[in-house]
């Protein structure tokens, strides 16, 4: 579904992504792991067009994504839920959801599904998004992404700054997305939990993919265990 080939990204003179190759298959849940600053967010932003790459190729369902305007990519089915949520704080929850719904078809049904799955949001639909609690904001952000009816949903650190109980809910939600047939590609710092719900994982360090394995082998990988799980 998503195919990234030899991607290089620079900010000014500084290269942050080096020859990255990634494949995500239809319906798969894939996680991108790596320390802060490894370039995960940059990679996500590049796929969505917020950052232009220096070289390389990104294809989505056979189409060259780099030839498509950033704002048109959601219509192709690629939607990112950015780090820090970036909700429109001065709009209501419902408006936040509405804004992402670029197509009428299936909109109502999607919204119903969201309110059903996330009853908290339904309660707060008329409330300004900026006044929600952190967990609710994250749910709202994910819900907003779902409203675009993506084929592939990307999440950048959805658990950032959330209480463990909320983090659990987020992971539950991701699993529900998969059940809905949405491909999920997400960045996380909770390595273990991420690998539990993802089929495969990529490990990005210093802008390079240093490891790509299925979740099970990754969990058992010495390096991962030592560096990311703190298990000697």
């Amino acid at each position: 579904m998503l195919k990234i080939e030899n991607l290089n990204v620079s900010y000014g003179d500084t290269q942050v992504i080096w020859d990255v190759n990634i494949d995500v298959a239809d319906g798969e849940v894939v996680t991108l792991l790596g320390p802060n600053g490894a370039g995960k967010t940059t990679l996500m932003k590049t796929i969505c067009g917020l950052v232009a790459p220096k070289s390389g190729k990104i294809t989505f369902m056979g189409e060259d994504l780099l030839k498509i305007n950033p704002w048109d990519r959601p219509k192709k089915g690629v939607v990112l839920i950015p780090e820090g949520r970036k909700l429109f704080g001065k709009m209501t929850v419902e408006e936040n959801l509405e804004i992402a719904a670029w197509k009428e078809e299936g909109k109502k049904e999607t919204m119903e599904w969201i309110y059903e799955t996330l009853p908290k949001l339904a309660e707060r639909r008329k409330q300004l998004a900026g006044t929600l609690s952190g967990g609710e904001q994250q749910m709202c952000a994910i819900a907003r992404g779902i409203m675009a009816q993506p084929k592939m949903l990307m999440l950048d650190e959805p658990s950032l700054g959330l209480a463990p109980i909320i983090v659990e809910q987020v992971f539950d939600l991701i699993q529900k997305l998969q059940e809905r047939g949405i491909t999920v590609f997400f960045v996380e710092q909770f390595v273990e939990q991420s690998l539990k719900i993802a089929a495969r994982g990529y490990l990005l360090e210093g802008g390079r993919i240093v490891l790509q394995e299925d979740s099970k082998s990754m969990l058992n990988n010495d390096y991962v265990r030592q560096v990311y799980l703190g298990i000697a």
């Binding site: 320390p35 802060n36 490894a38 700054g161 463990p164 390096y223 560096v227």
Partner: protein, 242 residues
């Protein structure tokens, strides 16, 4: 036991509805490395912001060498001898690396030329001597971290507060950084907020654990690693089954 040079007593901070720091107390002893860990959002950076005067504290006191420093401005606290780095490195993007360091040297230098003389030395310590002429905006993550550390060192602090200096580094780079920190320990007291367990366990003399703004544990690295409360808070639910 070494002298307690910094004492944080029962400090709290509220942002709107969020209790970011909740009655936290600890002390820092001369010459040690104190590690602070906790999941994202646990209030580690807020703690640094409170100690260094970026946010006023709601309640509690902070005492440094027997003197209250809560209520002082960040620059005054820096002059007392406590310098912090930022989690998201804050280079001065429009200035060259050398000037970045120079700016940091200046407040404690009598003459500009004195400060200038120190720049090369610090650039070498943080291995940025080859990049001296680049702009702050044009650095890689690692270089930013190094610059952040270099700037903090340039202020010649007694206590150095390091906020996630390891994040974004490769294992080899982490090792280098750890060596550097151990080297610094010879002359400075260090408080370090860190994510990477391997690092924190390795270099800390003592560790405190924060979760949801509260201190949930304090002790030697070994004790912390075995504390189930910590494992749950830090590694999440999954860790229990691991």
């Amino acid at each position: 036991m070494a002298e307690k040079i910094l004492m944080v007593d029962n400090i709290s901070k509220r942002f709107g509805g969020l209790q970011a720091t909740d009655k936290v107390s600890f002390d820092v002893r001369a010459g040690e490395i104190l590690g602070i860990i906790g999941p994202n959002g646990a209030g580690k950076s807020t703690l640094f912001n409170l100690i260094t005067g970026f946010y006023p504290i709601d309640e509690g006191t902070i005492t440094y060498h027997g003197e209250r420093i809560d209520g002082l401005t960040p620059d005054q606290i820096c002059h007392k001898g406590i310098t912090r780095t930022f989690q998201v490195a804050k280079p001065f993007p429009g200035l060259t690396i050398a000037d970045n360091i120079l700016v940091a040297c200046l407040p404690k230098a009598d003459k500009v030329s004195d400060a200038r003389a120190k720049v090369d030395e610090i650039l070498k310590i943080v291995s940025l001597d080859k990049k001296a002429g680049s702009l702050g905006a044009d650095l890689t993550t690692l270089e930013r971290k190094r610059l952040e550390l270099g700037k903090a060192l340039a202020t010649n602090p007694e206590i150095l507060l390091l906020d996630e200096v390891m994040t974004g580094l490769k294992p080899k780079e982490m090792d280098d950084m750890m060596e550097l920190i151990k080297e610094l320990k010879k002359t400075k007291t260090i408080v370090i907020v860190e994510h990477v367990m391997r690092v924190i366990m390795n270099i800390s003399d003592r560790i405190i654990v924060l979760d949801h703004g509260q201190k949930i544990a304090e002790g030697l690295p070994r004790e912390i690693a075995e504390n189930p409360l910590v494992i749950e808070a830090y590694l999440g639910r999954g860790a229990k089954h691991a």
